[in-house]
């Protein structure tokens, strides 16, 4: 309309020519009015899908779907859900699923079953590591009651966590069809509760254990030699070893690194009340699973060597004392330090019956 009025001259002409021009102008105005009326009608008739295109909000572009896919939220992202921290599409979920189901799950099983198979094969072919010399009957004090209690508590917790963890990862493939839903439901629920409540206790006790054993596990030059000789598997003689040999130190440092990472990632998963994001928990879960499955596989080796694998080893962790021969063969450097403290079995029996708390106060002579 501004355009039309602008075209009007300043003074209205009174001539006949001017009159015809006026009529034309009126008709033009009427035409524009009718035309605008028509547009309004179109706007009202939006129910007609043919017209939707011309009047609807601009279409959703590929750029917007890319934004959705990227998980980007931005300051103008709204979610109707109360206190939601979610984006629209959790694309990392699929990455996590593939990592867990296609990599961690099968390879974890291969690692554990493979380790068990190697150990069994080793036991069948090589057999138990017997003491080369007969026992002297004289005993050396190795583990205090505190250390033994700590070891067995951590060991029990480790085994419980490993079994419940394995059940959480693999149980559904075996036990659900085996036991039926009622028992399976109870079993998996108990696994989760035990895992979640015992986990933090294990974490704390593991740290106590690592601190208590730090002094004995500082790597030394002889440990390198120990590894080069594969702990005595090659060659006739035992390689040099102090209170802890190279293998024990390796297990210690594995627990001090991977073990603590597993504990830390476990805490991230176990305490969702700190509102950590899904992405954080996905990574924590993968790290936790890889670390824990690896430790479980290595723990099988530790359990084998400490029990049936080596003659005279288990009694160190049960009674606290080892035979002189065992000490001489497996920990020669330590034996040299403490050999004058060896006691006879009679003295040991007297010490145990006389004062049951005797070995608590006795400091380990290493």
């Amino acid at each position: 309309m501004n355009l039309l009025t602008a075209q009007l001259p300043g003074r209205a002409p009174r001539s006949g020519k001017g009159l015809t021009l006026g009529i034309w102008r009126c008709m033009l105005v009427a035409f524009v009015l009718v035309l605008s009326l028509g547009f309004t009608q179109v706007a009202v008739a939006q129910a007609d899908p043919d017209r939707e295109m011309s009047s609807a909000a601009p279409g959703i572009t590929a750029e917007q779907w890319r934004q959705v896919r990227s998980g980007e939220t931005g300051p103008n992202f709204r979610d109707s859900r109360h206190e939601s921290t979610y984006n629209l599409i959790n694309a990392s979920g699929e990455t996590w699923r593939i990592l867990r189901n296609r990599w961690v799950s099968p390879f974890g099983l291969i690692a554990i079953i493979g380790m068990a198979a190697v150990i069994t094969l080793f036991y069948v072919i090589v057999g138990r590591k017997q003491l080369d010399e007969p026992r002297t009957g004289r005993k050396l004090f190795r583990w205090s009651l505190f250390m033994r209690s700590l070891h067995w508590t951590v060991a029990t917790l480790f085994i419980t966590l490993a079994l419940t963890g394995l059940n959480l990862l693999y149980g559904k493939f075996v036990f659900r069809s085996l036991f039926g839903d009622a028992f399976w439901g109870w079993m998996i629920s108990a696994s989760k509760v035990l895992h979640n409540y015992l986990g933090p206790i294990f974490g704390i006790l593991l740290i106590v254990l690592l601190i208590s054993l730090l002094k004995d596990n500082i790597p030394k030059k002889q440990d390198w030699v120990w590894f080069k000789k594969a702990g005595g598997l090659t060659g006739k003689h035992h390689p040099d070893a102090g209170f802890a040999n190279g293998g024990e130190k390796a297990w210690y440092w594995l627990l001090a690194t991977v073990g603590l990472v597993v504990v830390a990632s476990g805490f991230v998963l176990d305490f969702p009340n700190f509102n950590q994001s899904r992405d954080t928990m996905q990574w924590a879960n993968i790290i936790h699973a890889v670390g824990a499955l690896g430790l479980t596989a290595v723990a099988l080796g530790h359990i084998y060597i400490g029990t049936v694998g080596t003659e005279g080893s288990l009694e160190a962790m049960t009674t606290g004392y080892v035979d002189e021969t065992w000490a001489k063969e497996h920990h020669n450097l330590w034996y040299e330090e403490v050999k004058d403290q060896a006691i006879t079995e009679e003295e040991l029996a007297a010490r145990k019956s006389g004062d049951s708390s005797g070995d608590i106060s006795a400091s380990r002579p290493s």
Partner: protein, 204 residues
């Protein structure tokens, strides 16, 4: 058998949250849990877009694949349901779900989350009685021959629910009328409107 699907037409959604409310009402969902949510991108900008999301009842559901208790199952209609008696509240389904559908009534220390809750496509869940089913999973409208209430009540019919084929037909019709040559899924003018599952490798 039908393959039940939800589809939200982002060009129609007006962020009224009617679906969220309808869902809460139909299923009597626990306080703090919203099985359906409405997400708005670029709120207040020209490119503003809203979309209603809940469980999308995936063909290859990630929640099912990662669940340690195997509590998920798929009905003959392609609806993904779960058994709350087996659920241990580990949260894995939530890590895996692309849509943030699984929710937990709690989020406490020691992984205490309670039993997972999610959209059931208004198809209830495993229970001994109707009362127990309603109490645990909400209404079973599918058993009554009805579709999910969220979609039924959607004022702009942005949210569609039903057999995948029917939903696709309705959406295709809209797309054709809107004049998008390719169903608004890409900017490729050669992509076919009749083939919504556009294969980029085919180059049109």
């Amino acid at each position: 058998m039908a393959q039940m699907k939800f589809m939200c037409d982002a060009e129609r959604c007006i962020e009224c949250n009617g679906c969220v409310t309808a869902c809460k009402n139909a299923n009597d969902v626990e306080w703090g849990i919203q099985r359906r949510r409405v997400v708005t991108l670029n709120d207040g900008e020209a490119s503003e877009m809203s979309i209603s999301v809940a469980c999308m009842h995936c063909d290859d559901a990630p929640c099912m694949a990662v669940c340690p208790t195997d509590c998920f199952y798929k009905t003959d209609d392609g609806i993904v349901l779960h058994d709350k008696d087996l659920c241990i509240g580990c949260g894995y389904c939530l890590y895996a779900c692309p849509f943030g559908a699984p929710q937990f009534p709690k989020q406490n220390a020691f992984g205490e989350r309670g039993k997972m809750d999610k959209c059931t496509f208004c198809a209830g869940g495993p229970a001994e009685s109707k009362e127990e089913e309603y109490q645990k999973y909400g209404s079973n409208r599918i058993a009554e021959g009805k579709l999910p209430l969220c979609a039924e009540m959607c004022s702009t019919k942005a949210l569609l629910a039903g057999d995948a084929q029917d939903v696709a037909d309705i959406f295709r019709q809209r797309v054709v009328h809107r004049g998008h040559p390719d169903g608004a899924w890409s900017n490729n003018p050669q992509a076919s409107t009749d083939n919504l599952a556009y294969d980029a490798a085919r180059k049109g």
